[in-house]
Symmetry: D3
Subunit: 287 residues, 6 copies
């Protein structure tokens, strides 16, 4: 039960990428390879990982030429080992070679995100914590990057500025600059203007801020750059009155320790802001 982006949204993204990569044709394939040649190729994993991008890769092929057929044998959210054949592609050679790079650019990046996410998720196994992403996504690719996080077993944070509240340090600084000293009242007043479906999360930098924020009705409290000890203490203090999110300086090495403090959510910007593409390649199958 994976929430998948819609067909149309994926096609729009892929069309844009294909147009960017071959605005008026592929001068190599179309002048070197006979138009009648057909090819069978395999998408092969050159390192282990978690797949994400099946539909996008298929679209890169079929939007380049509807005569290409692509069949995935590993599916999104599934793990694979080095050397695994992930998919088989069959069709006109010119078109397969033309579509290769765009298809790979998407699926390598998305699988890189899914694989990294899965490592974080594995590291917190056995705790109550879930791994979530942030808004530090690549401009224009949030749709597929968030999906890749889900493929890796992670959860999504709010999708955009429009669908949930996150009161951050800069917001509180502005309130203070405006002479608003009572954060509790400010939060209550804000809540009255919001949709009843809007989740309110508030970031705190120091333990002393927690009670005012709870009194303001926050649904989630984000503890920013808290030490592990501070996190444990804050979890105890909040005691279920709100969800607790840890953020800031979360590395794979430290994440288990953070999860052990009892926080509900651990957000990791690196899932999408510093992605290493997974090494996948397209191999021609000798006939």
């Amino acid at each position: 039960m994976l929430i998948r982006p819609g067909h149309d949204a994926i096609h729009r993204l892929v069309r844009m990428a294909l147009d960017e990569d071959a605005p008026w044709g592929d001068v190599t394939s179309q002048t070197l390879i006979a138009a009648s040649m057909r090819v069978t190729a395999q998408l092969v994993a050159r390192e282990p990982g978690v797949l994400s991008g099946e539909d996008v890769f298929i679209a890169a092929m079929s939007l380049t030429d509807p005569a290409i057929s692509t069949r995935f044998v590993v599916h999104d959210a599934e793990t694979f080992s080095e050397g695994t054949v992930l998919a088989t592609i069959e069709g006109p050679a010119q078109a397969v070679l033309q579509a290769e790079r765009v298809g790979l650019n998407f699926v390598q990046r998305m699988s890189g995100i899914a694989t990294l996410t899965a490592q974080y998720v594995a590291a917190v196994a056995g705790t109550r914590a879930r791994i979530v992403d942030t808004r530090k996504t690549t401009p224009g690719l949030r749709l597929v990057e968030r999906y890749a996080v889900r493929c890796g077993g992670g959860h999504n944070h709010r999708y955009s500025l429009s669908d949930a509240v996150m009161v951050k340090d800069n917001h509180l600084a502005m309130l203070a600059a405006d002479g608003v000293s009572n954060v509790t009242e400010a939060l209550q007043s804000m809540r009255a203007r919001l949709s009843h479906t809007t989740h309110v999360e508030v970031e705190v930098d120091r333990p002393e801020q927690i009670e005012a924020v709870l009194a303001g009705g926050a649904d989630t409290i984000l503890l920013d750059n808290f030490s592990t000890a501070q996190l444990a203490s804050a979890v105890a203090q909040i005691a279920g009155r709100a969800l607790v999110e840890a953020s800031g300086g979360i590395t794979l090495a430290r994440v288990h320790e953070v999860a052990e403090t009892g926080v509900d959510i651990i957000s990791v910007g690196a899932l999408t802001h510093s992605v290493r593409s997974l090494d996948l390649g397209l191999d021609i199958v000798p006939q």
Copy 2:
């Protein structure tokens, strides 16, 4: 004399990103901060690097609200140290806070690319080699990622499949499958179909392929995954009859050694396919 993307192309990218990040408004700023509040903020470097993304950041601010003014004191392609104030932003607080993430997502990513590129460029200083990028860019962002490489002192490879030829192993495999054994003739025949402005580059995996490719009239020979010794030997063999590009497994640690072999071009996919966003932040300036 930096080739910059056009205003309209930048605005189109930024509009898409703003729309993605706030489809119908920022429910936090617009319900918490008074519409009349103004703010002064600074874009601050939390680590040293090379700037790229000035125009894009400015557009993120001014397209969110034309009343925001942004002034950069460090400019694209310039280096900066940790703690440097890169730009000052002044305008309506709601809008500045709304635009912050989109502006940062672009400039952090682009500066990450520029900074990494500059490290590679520095590593080959004193040699004839230039550092170039590849088509392994983020779908939809090639325009700004290629620009970021230029900001870092790197050069661009072909922009797309339409503007230069690159014959790769898969193309040669297809030729062989089609019964074409004479690569030289195939290349000559291809050349006759191309624009006279189209550069022809051919990838070889083994030294034995070089002479046939030269005879076919290649402008550049790409030596894929050659050892350093093999590279040096191939440079000697080619002896200026074509440009020589080294590719595959180029790390920062190894790049100087590769450059010392006398190759003309070293292409590094990692410049864009595995980007770490540079740590830049937006700080509110107390009034």
Copy 3:
């Protein structure tokens, strides 16, 4: 502290409408009125109401001709009486006459929504209930119709299928058809897949369904087509364990009675699905 749609989103909508209404010019104004003529006009209320659409109206004028200046003296969310001059427009006569209909089509529709919303809001004054809209908006205009509801003092329900959960009768029917008899467990399982910021609302048709839904962790329970007595009883039963929304058959005549039952939210599809445009007109000011 009204959440306003962004400039760019408004401009996109208005451009589309202007293009629809004058694909290649206004054959009347441009062949009858001298290009040099200037005009002063007033946007006048022909009936009382609540304003919504100030920015959109201004955009219709200025995107038709940047030489038109428009100044609103009544602002969005403010009430006005019949005969009130809402805005003054000054500029080239050809362009003002060309832009008139598009400007009016938006502002009349949006003010119609704001005015109707304000009547519902007034009717529940003194109760805890808030008036909210639904997804029964005009395709393509959700952005401005939701804003118009806010101008009228109403609140927004979830914006789209992506930002909050609403489990409706058809969903429950599908679960039953799938052999899922334990709704509580199904809801808990669904919650585990959702973002922690996603609000979960569940619709019930009968009082007997309430406890299972509460046990499933619903944040809001929607009571669909409940009689006033049933609503009151359900509010007592739920007793603050979730928010309570009343929906279905809510008329202006009945809404106060519904609000008196203690429900938190009353959703009214008619706010946007059956809009009467408010009667506003553009009058030329004799010079």
Copy 4:
């Protein structure tokens, strides 16, 4: 012989609406309902009316998921009674539930327009008058709203400012302000600049204006806010020298009386500017 909007235009509208309603998926269906579930549903009339929107509804389903099949048994422009099954939908349950609201939003609105139009058309049966719409359509939806009027048996007025002339009171006021006192000459001069295919219609507020306008060569004279007696008198005066259109204050109650005066055209802004969506619903068919 109904003029239908093109496939591509309909798909563009529906894609925009689907994207608006589910930018990155349906968090309810896709986390609650098994992806393998299939459903049969019926589009049912909860009140009598005239259908409009068949192609648009089908597109909402098939663009959400090509695996959904939709078969209409009542067709556009046909009348139906309460309880009629209009269409049967079969396909993946997640997708049908996701597409439901967008499909309904279109077909309910369009059928509301068609049904109201049909009431006006019925009321003038037996007279020479035809019922026509105006440019008071919803921004962006003129294409389908005009089609809905045709489905209801009405006729369309000019589509946009570009395809026919309508000289209104504000135009005449501008001419006067420009010192042009001879309306006849102004109209003749305008005609010389227009395409020979451009129909010229002129609005008059007072009977005294009619002769000058006829002399100017108007194809249609619009009598704005004339009483029934004034209309009859004007029809007699014009005596076939131009088509006669009645406009302003046309209600269902009064329209027959207006038609009896012998006018050729009765334009009704309310057909599109104040639409009540027809009550249609989607019912799951128990298996």
Copy 5:
């Protein structure tokens, strides 16, 4: 009183052309000319003609760089002699050189159309005939090509298939194939389905068809490929009962003779389907 395309439509066209001509920058100007250089240039006529494209040329400059200022001294629809300076351009040298080709491509083509049109218009001076264009325009450029015809003193025919009826030989062939032998009744029946603002034009190939078409209520009769004598005879026969259009084989050499027959309209496909760009150039002004 020239009907001009809207600002937004022109900008959309010019943006598309600029993007086509410089997707990621101008590699010549931006690597050869210092970014700080400014230039003054003149748009000069290398042959006499009629100007069209002022706004489009200005947009090509200012959308490339808002810092370019362009001032036309000859205006659209005005004639000029060889050697005339039409406009002066001042701004950053890189940007002016980048925008040059796109600006010229538009204004040369549009002025070519205007100039040819003016020749036809001059040739029929003193007769009642007007010169009109056809739908044989360049895909995507109808907006500006039709405007260019107006600049040349010509008139426009219907803009598209949606705004006026033209019954051609193929339509009549289809009617016949459908067993419809009474063209008069078919035309009357068609008229009943059309908007009252829709002009009906019918093409005839033979004089014998004229009476049936007149009886069907045609507003204009198009005489296709009639000899001059046949035209004169048909004008006499029609005798003002409909407008008369001559079409087919209209050359500059023959057009006066055709006009002398008394036809109202002469349509010339060559105005837009076979355009010779006017020779205009951009000269750098030595400083």
Copy 6:
């Protein structure tokens, strides 16, 4: 091995053209011809030529109505004589008649370009010269116009300002104005900033400029408006050190003489800037 534009790019162009030509339907076909009528039609050559536009014509038909089938018997780049049936179209009569003009507008224009190109190509047969196009294409149609040149046997010059360098007289004038007197150094310095795949072409007006340009490393030298004797002399002087392009004042009458001088490339702006549409028509096949 013809480089063909991608499916998606062609569909985008055709959709735009169809929308331009029938924004809300074809009021003639859809009110006159029964919706159930089917038609067989033929695309017939009314003069001899070379075909270009097969895919575009098919798209015009199938995007209007997927029920139309179109089969070409002559293919792109093939020659045909007057009277040849190029394609057979079968489908709903309303749709075929609606799509006719858009299909013809594309294929007539493209075949006009291909046919003219083929005449130039034939005129230089037996010489080393190739015929190439320029950037003087119709805004928005470069994709298909460049393809049409290829269909005619011509070659393409650089596609845009982004993919190759062309230093023209205005660039050299700017350098001079900037005090740069050493063109050789300026070119070498420019080369250092360019991609290694970027071809550098430099235009010279006088023989004296040639040596400096060669020393600057130009790949191609464009001899602008040289007499035939000057061309021959320059070819001898350059002696293979760069490709030689002749440009300016190249007519069909003179092109063979130019080719005989030994130039490599002859560029002809008229191929695309002054196109005469080829006379092709759609004939209904009597059943």
